[in-house]
């Protein structure tokens, strides 16, 4: 079964017929009550990291597979730690795309793991729709969490970002948020936009060069800026994006220096935004390209808090999905 035969938009495979959230594939189509339940539950998991025993027995006896077809340090390790802190057993499988193309299809790989009685998959894949494909294949026999698929979606990153904004900048309903950089190639930006709009963010801006900001975004109610100074004016939260160097073969930028000169976040430019505006970055950072070291290490950056929040949010997502698998109600 090839990914190219897969179509989006037919139904919302994240929810089952009873309206329970069974998979987390995208922030698009996620309903507000479940999103709020994930964020509220994550608040409870944050404090567990301060205890002498940093584990709960919640997923005891469950097995979660981290199936990564793309490199990742932060996402994979926080998912692994999240599952372990919930007392689940974790199987980490890193598949290089070349060995996958050697023969076994994605579905075959999943079926083999299902034969080992696993309970859930956290999947990262370079092709958009990979997690959807697995979720549709598995139905309610195992939970599926999308940990990044191509340029499509990265829902747990977006959830940890809105969690961070909510905790550190206050109610999303009255904050202006700007997403800065390579929006075109960014699954993080797409998922952030959906999460912010579901939570009622009154003004979402994207700022970047014309070649790196898709025009369709204004149709989603997003304000598009190609000038950093104009775009940052009055902004409470700045979400920097990693410049996807490895996806820049198509010559959309003259040079990284040119990008930094026009869109790099420096201490001087931060002053264009609200005083003490928060600076988020999903990592890994290209210091001196999209973000200057003085900003990355400065008092407005909350990048390491994002990592801690990511662990709590992933524990909350695993708990909510695993709870629904037992037939439990999970909507607020």
């Amino acid at each position: 079964m090839s990914l190219s035969t897969f179509r989006f938009g037919d139904g919302n495979p994240q929810y089952d017929a009873q309206g329970r959230l069974r998979h987390l594939l995208n922030t698009e189509g996620l309903r507000e009550p479940e999103m709020l339940q994930i964020l509220d539950t994550a608040e409870s998991f944050l404090s567990i990291a301060q205890r002498s025993v940093k584990k709960t027995p919640t997923l005891r006896g469950k097995t979660i597979v981290n199936l990564f077809f793309e490199n990742s340090t932060r996402t994979r390790s926080t998912f692994e730690l999240a599952a372990k802190r919930l007392s689940a057993d974790v199987l980490n499988i890193a598949v290089s795309t070349s060995s996958a193309s050697k023969g076994e299809s994605l579905i075959d790989t999943v079926d083999n793991l299902m034969a080992m009685q696993v309970d859930g998959f956290v999947i990262r894949h370079p092709e958009a729709g990979a997690a959807h494909l697995i979720a549709r294949h598995l139905g309610d026999s195992a939970l599926v969490i999308n940990a990044g698929d191509g340029q499509h979606a990265h829902p747990t990153q977006a959830l940890l970002d809105v969690f961070t904004i909510r905790r550190l900048a206050g109610p999303i309903e009255d904050r202006v948020v700007a997403i800065v950089g390579d929006v075109l190639h960014s699954r993080v930006a797409r998922s952030q936009i959906h999460a912010l709009s579901i939570l009622g963010c009154p003004e979402i801006r994207v700022i970047g060069p014309q070649t790196l900001v898709p025009k369709e975004l204004s149709a989603l109610g997003v304000h598009v800026y190609h000038d950093l100074q104009a775009g940052l004016r009055g902004v409470d939260v700045i979400c920097a994006l990693r410049l996807q160097k490895e996806r820049m073969e198509s010559h959309r930028l003259p040079s990284l220096d040119e990008f930094h000169r026009r869109f790099g976040l420096t201490p001087e430019r931060l002053q264009w935004a609200q005083p003490d505006a928060l600076v988020l970055h999903p990592g890994p950072m290209n210091r001196g390209v999209e973000i200057a070291s003085e900003v990355a290490d400065g008092h407005q950056a909350v990048i390491l808090q994002q990592v801690a929040h990511g662990l709590a949010v992933r524990m909350a997502v695993l708990t909510l999905l695993a709870g629904a698998a037992g037939g439990g109600e999970n909507h607020a």
Binding site: T41, S44, S47, G323, A325, G326, G327, E329
Partner: protein
């Protein structure tokens, strides 16, 4: 049917029973959400305990998590004192199957190793399914399995006996 127990009188009885067993300088108290926290707040005040009150949400420790899933509203557990070596009074509103207390004790031990735990409840309604017993109970009943005893609050606190069939444990 609403029973006309006076919660204030029941609380006074609990304070009387607890007083000889606590040292206000040392003893700590933990209430279990939601009703247990209400009771614990009243007891904590009346006993003049110096250690800040702890609050426990046992959602992540429930033994029926894989059957019933996550509680729609999980609150953060907050134990604002070192548990190691501490004498702790664990407070809940209604003791029924005992499973909540088991889960609460599991969670407390993830914070540290207390010197001892004493269980104080407003109502012990019987029907225990695990060997858990209340050290102090203001009211001991032998309620029918179909009935439900519920503490409403926080202000005023009201104890209700509902005779409708139970829908959840």
């Amino acid at each position: 049917m609403n029973a006309d127990w006076d919660v204030t009188t029941l609380l006074e009885g609990m304070v009387r029973d607890l007083r000889p067993r606590v040292d206000p300088e040392q003893t700590a108290m933990i209430g279990i959400f939601t009703g247990g926290v209400w009771i614990a707040q009243a007891l904590h005040r009346a006993l003049g305990l110096k250690t800040a009150l702890g609050q426990l949400d046992i959602s992540f420790y429930r033994d029926d998590f894989s059957q019933i899933g996550l509680h729609p509203q999980v609150r953060a557990s907050d134990i604002p004192f070192a548990v190691d070596g501490r004498s702790i009074i664990l407070v809940d509103d209604v003791l029924y199957t005992g499973r909540t207390i088991r889960a609460a004790m599991n969670e407390i031990f993830d914070y540290g190793r207390p010197a001892n735990i004493l269980l104080a409840v407003l109502v012990d309604r019987g029907g225990h399914e695990v060997p858990v017993a209340a050290d102090i109970a203001a009211l001991r009943l032998n309620a029918a399995a179909g009935g439900q005893i519920k503490l409403r609050g926080p202000d005023p606190l009201r104890l209700e006996l509902l005779t409708s069939p139970r829908t959840a444990s």
